[in-house]
Symmetry: C2
Subunit: 346 residues, 2 copies
């Protein structure tokens, strides 16, 4: 399996990207990686590590997309690591997926305009995993869209539900993932017209297991597998979760080192604190998959460290291995979206 | 000072309400409380405690508003504890404020339709306090609107900014509270048309210290005092924060009791964990003040325990003591909202 990696994307590129790349290579012998970036910088980082060189290829890209670049303009700029990767992904059949920690807006624009959407998909959506303590250890909720589309129509939210439901089946091995609509209350009439109409449409789609409206807390503590939302609300939710986690860890650290007694206690708890961080896995929260594109694209958090990049490469591997795109396309065909829209308009 | 309390509102009424009422009475000799509720039930609870009986009055209300009641209908139902309190608050000058843990929708409807708004206020807003670790210990951020108005216009968000800014001045003693607009990114052009227009309007209001767009995490870890948002986004934010906190405390508890070593460690940390809970103060997060009404109304979380009710009564006391409503009205007069709207429409 061949996965493209944007070696220059994100705040810690290329050092953290290459460290993650090497870790992924050394753990998974099935993957080959194609690194897009400034050849000399990438080579200088690679030199620091031991790995199977036969499974790495570098594609020299002189330019990098900045977080401040306007996405639709960035797409047209030639020679950037991200857009070079997208063009290769589109044109070369043997390339299976793409991982980037670069600009989210540019990654979405490149995915739409260069790689292209699965037939029938109106807009790709960003889908991220959130730890959820309602079930077995390791349970996660998919939140979709967590930021690609600030403005949505009901039909788009329905597509997000179908896309993310197919992903949940594949990623979690659940046959009928529970799909909830993120709203400001659980009652059917809740929300603005967008959410009220979406509720009606979702209720009429047979191929998903729609359980009704859910609230912000349900993503983390509710019995739900997929939480569907517009990209504006999704962004607010993800960043509120991230902020709360950071705040709590900061307060915990402060209190746990505030006295001799608590310092002693913390020593006994080193293992538990480490397991807690692993279980919560906040490094990965910023990472998301772009659903609805012709091949899997993983958008890692801009501040990704090596472990997040390694995890993103692993997510890409899992998506390819499980035939995610074919599964998603198959599910999309089961719903007659045009008909849904028509019945909605009548 | 005389404060009305809805003795029947919330999941744990009347027991938890009365426990909180007695705690507040015993700590603050300046307050007198008027309890609206079923007299026999309220008296039965009161009998369990020792307190200054001369500062408590019961108003017998046979009916209670249910969480499932439709707010606009609930307002018209006579004899409910919440609406009786609102009518008394409106008509009796010596009554200063109202605390309820009952239905949020009914509390907003009653506030608007019975008590009435401050002159010029288009819609009252729910404003809650979130712990923030960016500054000194005990720093909080006000999030407004956190759920009263699912659908907003730019002018409403501007009013929320003015209302919450005045409250922050009073509650935190800050002269020029930093006001941010909750958006899906910090750049000026971010968000849907509602947020783009609001950004422009907020930039033109002199009496608030507008610092631009903020993201979901800034409420908790950013250098900001007031975060303005539409009630839909605000509800998503607050409930995501609540869910994350609950999830993390659950994981922490599990890990901290998972082995003998961690159990020993936890014993040393009892004090630190208690301080952490106090600092984070999640019991109070659900509590909010309804801004824009003619007298202070505190809406406590439906699942409020006694400590949250006591805190809510204290919030009401502080709001009255600091002349919050007069301050808010004064600030509102400084901005020429009609003119703002006109210049916006041109």
């Amino acid at each position: 399996m061949k996965i493209l990696v944007d070696a220059m994307g994100g705040d810690n590129a290329p050092a953290a990207i290459i460290e993650g790349v090497v870790a992924a290579l050394n753990k998974n012998s099935e993957i080959e990686l194609v690194l897009c970036g400034r050849q000399n910088e990438v080579e200088a980082e690679l030199k620091k590590y031991t790995y199977d060189k036969s499974r790495v290829e570098i594609v020299d890209c002189p330019d990098v997309i900045d977080m401040n670049d306007i996405p639709t303009e960035a797409v047209r700029r030639k020679g950037t690591s991200m857009m070079t990767a997208y063009w290769m992904l589109k044109k070369q059949e043997e390339l299976d997926a793409f991982v980037t920690a670069g600009s989210t807006g540019a990654a979405i624009a490149g995915g739409q305009l260069i790689l292209g959407r699965i037939k029938g998909v109106k807009r790709p959506a960003l889908c991220c995993m959130i730890p959820n303590v309602s079930g077995e250890e390791g349970k996660k909720t998919l939140l979709c869209d967590c930021g690609a589309n600030a403005e949505c129509k009901p039909i788009m939210l329905c597509q997000f539900a179908v896309l993310a439901s197919a992903y949940a089946s594949v990623a979690f091995g659940i046959k009928h993932p529970k799909v909830g609509l993120l709203n400001n209350g659980t009652e059917e009439h809740k929300g603005d017209p967008l959410h009220q109409e979406t509720y009606k449409l979702l209720s009429s789609i047979d191929c998903i297991n729609f359980i009704g409206n859910v609230e912000g807390r349900d993503t983390l503590i509710g019995d739900v597998d997929v939480v569907v939302c517009d990209g504006f609300s999704g962004n607010i939710a993800v960043k509120s979760i991230e902020g709360t986690a950071k705040m709590m860890l900061k307060v915990m650290k402060k209190q746990f080192t505030s006295s001799l007694s608590s310092k002693i206690g913390s020593l006994f708890l080193l293992g538990a604190i480490k397991r807690m961080r692993t279980e919560l896995d906040f490094e990965k929260i910023g990472g998301a998959i772009l659903l609805g594109l012709k091949k899997p694209v993983i958008k890692s958090h801009g501040s990704s460290k090596a472990s997040a990049i390694e995890a993103a490469i692993n997510d890409a591997y899992m998506a390819v291995k499980s035939n995610l795109v074919a599964n998603v396309a198959g599910n999309l065909e089961k719903i007659d979206l045009d008909n849904l829209v028509k019945s909605e308009e009548e």
